[in-house]
């Protein structure tokens, strides 16, 4: 699981760059599986899949493109996905990311979370 300390976060977005590079072989925060939004003086907020016990995104999907696998990780079958975005609306944590009509959900990179490797203040770190 990803742990976030908003007080340490500098909003540099390096984690999102790393995520997009690992997953898409391109640097593109818009295709990252996590987002960090801040507006000083409010503290920044991390939005990323929390691997819910009863994932509402999966329930909301009308074409069964989403499923929950081992370790509660959400898997996306892009062949089935109809880009309806009902999962985006269903997620209470705003963790389903979208870019150019496509959805992106964090799969934890097998629990490795390479995004944490580039965090210079350890604002995001992996638990366990």
């Amino acid at each position: 699981m990803l742990i976030y300390d908003s007080k340490s976060c500098t909003e540099c977005q390096a984690c999102r760059l790393k995520c997009s590079f690992v997953k898409e072989t391109e640097y593109n925060p818009a295709k990252s599986r996590l987002s960090i939004k801040g507006k000083w003086p409010q503290m920044p907020v991390l939005k990323v899949c929390r691997q819910c016990q009863n994932p509402l995104c999966v329930k909301a999907c009308p074409v069964s493109a989403l499923s929950q696998e081992e370790q509660r990780i959400i898997s996306i079958d892009y062949g089935l996905c109809s880009d309806c975005k009902l999962c985006v609306q269903a997620c209470p944590f705003e963790a389903v990311q979208t870019c150019a009509g496509k959805i992106y959900i964090c799969d934890t990179c097998k629990g490795e979370y390479p995004c944490t490797e580039v965090c210079s203040t350890e604002a995001i770190s992996k638990k366990g």
Binding site: K7, T10, E11, C12, Q13, A14, L17, K18, S20, F21, E24, T25, E26, Y27, N28, P29, A30, K31, K37, W40, P41, C99, A100, V118, S120, T121
Partner: protein, 606 residues
């Protein structure tokens, strides 16, 4: 074909609300790389050096580089090139934050803005189109409000930059602000104001693909490792910056008698500790903010509580000098408010503070009276400092004169005020003292931007790697730094990156990202080519070797820990001549035909 580029530029014409996309020739990428290189290449080809900077024939060029938007750390800057209303020469200016990545995500590497809007407007750039949106309701509004308005209209995922009242009022050193970061120097905000352009917004989702992902990722990891070691060390410069921001070095600079104070008549500010970063950490709720992808996070955000509470970024070290020591202001709250005014009105804190310090001296000498000013403007008067900034941005009363900067002020005030109008080529001095550091003297004198500190041997002279006063060998050293930094600004690198990264690492990142095959010599040649092109533009704009002279105060003795020290005028002039020789310029500072040929410079103007 080179990778990591969009390979396109966007040309926006504000007059007829049109736009067109043009391919960037591979030869331009090869000879100028990007960022500052692109900006200088296109501006010198397209803008007549002789025009007034506030004429609608001037252009604003926002440019990114091949490493913009990649995972390589410390390449978040946007380069902005235009003709400066402060110096009448070319200006290249940089802003961190996330603007560069947002610009590149629209599918362009640079945006050239031409003409002028018929009414106050902002432009929105997306991968598909450009929208010209009138915004008369933003007239006179602060930068923060303008950016919030644009974000509310166009979405939070926009990258925005805007001007405030100072830009609208054509204050000669008005800046352009993007969230917590600034295109500070040279009056780019006034150029934007002259175009009736309140703001720009970039919104896109296009990513960056590099030529060799495997090698590039390895080089990125290496760069992160270098910066990790640096920031883990609390005594390294980047270690200090990451903890305290750029203001963290203030006490050391003061101890070394290099903190310009009281309009550059003193090198030491007795109460400097009242306005350094640690003072802010006691007074405010503070936190660190980083530019896009940057592990140094040198930005400081402060929130002041209480009835008159406010929040602000910074102040940076240079502002602690200009609105602090140079005006003898040691009140941290006044400094924070003054800084906040500059951010809201969109004014360069350096020029604004240095100009007020000049006015304070004029007042104390009787060159400006209380009647001229409307109040007492003595050194250390915080209330007067804030009032002067207000009037400056509004161009009201004495503010109309202050808004012109020190060079024009001295021309108007006359007597011998030019003697202590601390500018070079019209640009006010950055925090450093030519009296103390001969390399800085040469840097301020010869920089194409004017008295700019970005390309000088500051660290080497301050920390004793180079003798501070001796002029020996400085010509070659300064020319070398100027070329190197220009080359780094093509990528577009943060100025602090080469404090730790060796030049080979920048070139490895560039080659792995683009597929280029550059070596150190090629890279530095590019920096030199850009430097000479800027110089030729400036000469055609009317600048000359006389513009490479410093105000007389720089040659007067200054007290350093009980001793009097000074910069010798003859030695300085000999150093300038040596510099011309190193550069391959004639005795009047004109690049020779041999030098132009060697660098492959063709001039579009006489």
């Amino acid at each position: 074909m080179f990778e990591a580029y969009n390979r396109n530029l966007l040309r926006i014409n504000l007059t007829d609300k049109s736009f067109q996309v043009e391919e960037i020739p591979a030869e331009v990428m090869d000879k100028f790389i990007g960022g500052m290189g692109f900006g200088v290449y296109y501006l010198t080809r397209e803008v007549d050096p002789a025009i007034d900077a506030l004429d609608m024939g001037n252009k604003l060029i926002f440019a990114t580089g091949p490493l913009t938007g990649t995972g390589a750390p410390m390449f978040a800057q946007t380069a902005l090139v235009t003709k400066s209303p402060l110096t009448n020469g070319i200006i290249n200016c940089y802003c961190g934050g996330n603007l560069a990545q947002k610009l590149k995500s629209t599918g362009y590497d640079l945006v050239i803005i031409e003409g002028a809007c018929s009414q106050l407007s902002y432009v929105l750039v997306t991968p598909d189109t450009v929208k010209f949106i009138p915004c008369p309701e933003l007239q006179g509004k602060g930068v923060r409000e303008a950016e919030e308005y644009i974000s509310a209209q166009e979405g939070e995922d926009c990258g925005t930059a805007a001007i405030g009242l100072a830009g609208e009022n054509l204050v000669r050193f008005a800046s352009i602000i993007s969230s917590t970061r600034v295109f500070g120097r040279g009056g780019t905000g006034a150029v934007m104001g002259s175009k009736n352009l309140k703001g720009v917004a970039f919104k896109g989702t296009i990513g960056v693909k590099v030529h060799n992902p495997r090698v590039f990722a390895l080089k990125v990891d290496e760069a992160f490792a270098v910066f990790k070691i640096a920031t883990d060390n609390p005594y390294s410069l980047l270690g200090v910056f990451s903890r305290y921001g750029t203001g963290g070095g203030m006490s050391l600079i003061n101890e070394r008698y290099a903190l310009a104070t009281r309009n550059h008549t003193q090198a030491h500010f007795a109460t400097a500790d009242k306005i350094d970063t640690t003072a802010y950490h006691k007074l405010a709720n503070s936190r660190r903010i980083a530019c896009f992808g940057c592990p140094i996070h040198c930005g400081q955000l402060h929130s002041f509580q209480g009835k008159d509470g406010f929040f602000t970024r910074g102040p940076e070290y240079e502002t602690m000098y200009s609105l602090g020591s140079d005006c003898c202001n040691d009140d941290p709250l006044v400094l924070a408010r003054a800084h906040n005014l500059c951010e809201e009105y969109g004014m360069d804190t350096l020029s604004a503070g240095c100009t007020i310090a000049f006015a304070m001296e004029c007042y104390e000498r009787g060159f400006l009276s209380s009647e001229d000013i409307g109040f007492s403007l003595d050194f250390g008067n915080g209330e007067a400092l804030l009032k002067a900034l207000e009037l400056m941005a509004r161009r009201q009363g004495i503010g109309d004169l202050l808004a012109e900067g020190t060079r024009i002020m001295a021309e108007k005030i006359g007597r011998d005020s030019a003697h202590f109008a601390m500018n070079s080529k019209g640009m006010e001095f950055a925090a450093w003292m030519p009296q103390r550091m001969s390399g800085i003297a040469l840097t301020f004198a010869t920089s194409n931007r004017g008295a700019c500190h970005k390309r000088g041997p500051i660290g080497q002279e301050l920390m004793g790697e180079l003798p501070m006063e001796s002029t020996e060998g400085k010509a070659k050293i300064v020319a070398g730094i100027q070329d190197k930094v220009n080359a780094l600004f093509t990528l577009v690198s943060c100025r602090f990156a080469d404090f730790e990264l060796p030049i080979e690492m920048f070139i490895s990142l560039l080659n792995a990202a683009t597929g280029m095959n550059k070596d150190v010599t090629d890279f530095l040649d590019i920096g030199e080519r850009i430097w000479n092109l800027e110089r030729l533009f400036n000469l055609a704009a009317g600048l000359s070797s006389e513009s490479d002279m410093l105000p007389a105060r720089c040659f007067e003795p200054i007290e350093v820990d009980g001793e009097l020290k000074s910069l010798n005028r003859e030695e300085f002039e000999a150093m300038v001549q040596e510099y011309y020789q190193v550069r391959g310029w004639d005795q009047q500072g004109v690049p020779s035909s041999v030098t132009r040929k060697r660098l492959g410079l063709e001039l579009p103007w006489k």
